[in-house]
């Protein structure tokens, strides 16, 4: 039993858990969407005084912060106790491609150490990557009115056309970054 839990889980187990979590939240009158937390935190930090977009009753949305804290704890549990630090590994094609770009660290872990360890964080390139990436995620998700959980999971499950457009946008951006920019900057 424990061996199965520690081993990587197939997508047809984890995907449905995500879909079901979204539906359970609906039964509590809430809709799944993690990026709303950025706006909530901005508002809680007093951004509402500067800009009306952040002037709303964020306390009513505080359930979402609790959910996000749950995600952090879930990450910790899975890393520490459920084998979340040893993944199934990626296809040879991708691994070979990344190796040709100089990413040689073990792909059974979640992040390549070349880009995310302490020395990368304190390098100019590494820091630019993290800050620009974070900025784009924060700006883009709010502009698009949701992130992967809000549009790809919640929105598509509700057969919303705007969510499909957003997901197409995610893919256009992701493909440009993966095929044109990452090979160039690594």
């Amino acid at each position: 039993m424990m061996e199965n839990i520690i081993a990587p889980w197939p997508w047809y187990v984890t995907g449905p858990i995500v879909g079901a979590t979204m539906a359970i939240l609906l039964l509590f009158g809430k809709s799944l969407g993690l990026s709303s937390n950025f706006r909530i935190i901005c508002s809680a930090c007093g951004a509402g005084k500067k800009n009306s977009f952040f002037n709303f009753d964020w306390k009513r949305e505080s359930w979402n912060l609790v959910f996000a804290i749950g995600c952090i704890i879930g990450g910790f549990i899975s890393y520490k106790y459920l084998g979340g630090d040893h993944l199934a590994g990626i296809s040879d094609a991708t691994a070979n491609h990344l190796q040709s770009l100089g990413i040689t660290s073990d792909n059974h872990y979640v992040l390549p150490s070349e880009l995310f360890n302490a020395s990368a964080i304190f390098s100019v390139k590494g820091l630019l990557m993290l800050t620009i990436g974070g900025f784009l995620i924060g700006f883009g998700s709010r502009y698009a009115g949701g992130c992967t959980s809000g549009h790809a999971i919640s929105g598509l499950s509700n057969l919303q056309l705007p969510s499909l457009i957003a997901v197409i946008g995610y893919f256009i951006g992701g493909l440009i970054m993966t095929w044109l920019i990452i090979p160039f900057i690594l």
């Binding site: 901005c42 359930w63 991708t94 390549p112 974070g134 995620i137 883009g140 502009y143 499950s157």
Partner: protein, 140 residues
């Protein structure tokens, strides 16, 4: 928020965090693999989440199921527009592929003890704030 509800949202968040970790959606490598179309894994993961989600949403709608407080479950329609979804989506996608994590993985990876994600998180707040400041001037 009732204390009981706090615990429920916390547990649901923990479940969600574990599902995304064990589903490997938080892996930078998996995201590269997905955008290079070199494995079905992420498509199966997102696809099965949407199929199960869509079935459950249809069940809720067809049987007019109320939420636990007895209120109607209203899933608000998204604003009709193309530009905000397309342009915002492209920006988000660029960030997603660069950092290898969308929003939920950002939180989950902080639970992994990945301090680099604290920087990503801080700048995601900056990005959201700048969106608020410039929103009126952007096509929506």
């Amino acid at each position: 928020m009732k204390p009981k509800r706090v615990i429920i949202y916390l547990i649901l968040g923990i479940f969600f965090g574990i599902a995304l970790s064990k589903g490997e959606a938080i892996s930078w490598f998996r995201i590269q693999e997905m955008f290079r179309f070199e494995s079905f894994h992420m498509y199966g993961f997102i696809g099965s989440a949407v199929v199960v989600g869509a079935i459950l949403v249809q069940v809720i709608k067809r049987f007019n199921i109320k939420d636990f407080d007895g209120n109607e479950i209203i899933i608000a329609d998204k604003q009709k527009s193309i530009w905000r979804y397309l342009l915002g989506g492209i920006m988000f996608g660029l960030g997603w592929a660069l950092v290898g994590g969308c929003t939920a993985p950002l939180f989950i990876l902080m639970g992994y003890g990945e301090y680099s994600m604290v920087i990503v998180f801080a700048f995601a707040l900056v990005g959201t704030f700048v969106y608020g400041l410039t929103k009126e001037r952007l096509p929506h």
